[in-house]
């Protein structure tokens, strides 16, 4: 069995330290390790070329004004944090803190009214990064959107392998995972948009979870979760 160079050692070599005799000999004959070394050395070279002046600085304020004018944005469209704008736009808050208790979550998205936007494009009410759980390698996003017709959950994951004798199911759960609602099945080929039941107190279910389910007649969660994330405004 070929023993490739250790990544720690390749890094040290990429920085210019001499390779051990073993690594030297291996690198002679292994295109894979050599190409990895070249890649690391290129990053080292660019990093060493970084000067203080390369540190990002904000453009002068006039630049945003010019953009705003050229695009004909509302005059009050100043550069503020997304959070504060969002909070103003909603009549009901969606306050989700990590590890908060379910009792604090009282927002009902069914009554959300977008007060200051005449646009019919959907408003993003909350979103979550979906992080892989044990053994999984995929990650994606879930977004709760509100438009004139209701509330949807938009789940974006990269293409997933088909489940033999099964499927993927999207769940929303209370933050302590004591109560879960099955929202629908996930299309393994890209984005899935699921309409949330009208009247569902969405704010009470901030955890989004995607599970692997089988055609076994058991309507409960399989306990095999692929990804999970906490919705935040």
């Amino acid at each position: 069995m070929v023993v490739h160079c250790d990544d720690d050692d390749l890094t040290i070599i990429a920085l210019g330290e001499p390779a051990s005799a073993t690594d030297e000999a291996h690198l002679q004959g292994c295109p894979r390790c050599r190409s990895r070394l070249d890649q690391l050395a290129a990053v080292v070279a660019t990093s060493r070329a970084v000067r203080d002046e390369d540190t990002p600085v904000a453009p002068p304020a006039a630049v945003w004004d010019a953009i705003s004018e050229e695009l004909g944005l509302e005059s009050d469209a100043t550069v503020t944090s997304l959070d504060s704008r969002r909070r103003r736009r909603r009549s009901v808050g969606w306050m989700v803190a990590a590890a908060s208790v379910a009792g604090v979550l009282v927002g009902s998205l069914a009554t959300v009214v977008v007060t200051d936007s005449p646009s019919t494009s959907p408003a993003i009410v909350a979103s979550a990064g979906l992080d892989p759980l044990d053994g999984a390698t995929v990650s994606g996003t879930a977004v709760v959107e509100e438009d004139s017709t209701g509330t949807v959950l938009r789940v974006s994951l990269p293409e997933l392998p088909d489940v033999p004798d099964g499927y993927y199911e999207v769940w929303m759960a209370t933050s302590d995972a004591s109560t879960m609602v099955a929202i629908g099945t996930l299309d393994p080929r890209g984005e899935t948009v699921l309409r949330l039941p009208s009247g569902m107190p969405v704010g009470d279910f901030p955890l989004v979870d995607v599970s692997v389910e089988h055609f076994d007649g058991d309507a409960g969660h399989s306990a095999q979760s692929l990804v999970r994330g906490l919705l935040q405004a």
């Binding site: 990544d7 720690d8 890094t11 040290i12 990429a14 920085l15 210019g16 330290e17 990053v43 080292v44 660019t46 990093s47 060493r48 070329a49 970084v50 002046e53 390369d54 540190t55 990002p56 600085v57 453009p59 002068p60 006039a62 945003w64 953009i67 695009l71 469209a77 550069v79 503020t80 944090s81 997304l82 704008r85 969002r86 736009r89 936007s117 494009s121 408003a123 993003i124 979103s127 990064g129 992080d131 892989p132 759980l133 044990d134 996003t141 995972a177 004591s178 109560t179 879960m180 890209g190 058991d218 309507a219 409960g220 969660h221 399989s222 306990a223 979760s225 999970r228 994330g229 935040q232």
Partner: protein, 205 residues
């Protein structure tokens, strides 16, 4: 259909894997998604997050604050008007913005060389031809400067000594009184993080 807990084993409660800084955080991802969907309010937020990368790359590439400001304006106007062409599945929003930035920088230099040729023809005099730095390397340096700033200690200190003061990992270990293996793995993780930042936000490479 509500499940009251049946079949929910402990794994449901364990969150794994702390995201590293080069991975866009949830807020970044939300901005990118909203951008793609054309939510007006989000342009200001995208601008707030990523205009320093665009502006500083332009400034370092063209050398003039006024030209860098023009390029920054052009990039965000172009990006907003062409936002339907941005697909969050295919890459990061800053990566897309940096691709547009590279193009604008290249346009700037094309324009300048046309002007220089015109001046040449008129004056028939020796004109100092501006030196064009490679837009790619400028953008990469700005991204790396940003990521280097985000390194916490002790990684930042170790990277400083290894990259910029050319100390060997053994010297660093003895200077900071850390095990050699720890120093090596800090350097490896930091370099990997820098590499990934270029991969994710470097735009077309």
């Amino acid at each position: 259909m509500t499940d009251t807990g049946q079949g929910i084993a402990t794994p449901f409660l364990t969150r794994t894997r702390v995201q590293e800084a080069h991975v866009p955080d949830d807020a970044d991802a939300a901005v990118a998604l909203a951008f793609a969907h054309g939510d007006d309010a989000v342009l200001a937020d995208a601008y707030r997050r990523w205009s320093p990368l665009v502006y500083t790359s332009a400034l370092r590439a063209v050398g003039s604050e006024a030209d860098a400001a023009d390029i920054t304006q052009a990039v965000f106007v172009h990006a907003w008007q062409g936002r339907s062409g941005y697909d969050p599945q295919k890459g990061s929003l800053p990566g897309w913005l940096m691709t547009i930035t590279r193009r604008r920088i290249a346009d700037h230099w094309r324009e300048r060389s046309r002007e220089t040729r015109r001046t040449d023809a008129v004056a028939a005099a020796e004109v100092e031809v501006p030196v064009e730095p490679a837009a790619d390397s400028v953008v990469d340096r700005v991204l790396l400067a940003d990521e280097l700033q985000r390194l916490g200690d002790p990684q930042r200190k170790i990277v400083e000594l290894a990259f910029f003061q050319d100390l060997t990992h053994v010297q660093i270990a003895s200077l900071l009184d850390l095990p050699i293996g720890t120093v090596k793995s800090h350097i490896r993780r930091s370099l990997d993080r820098l590499r990934k930042r270029l991969e994710v936000d470097g735009g077309a490479l």
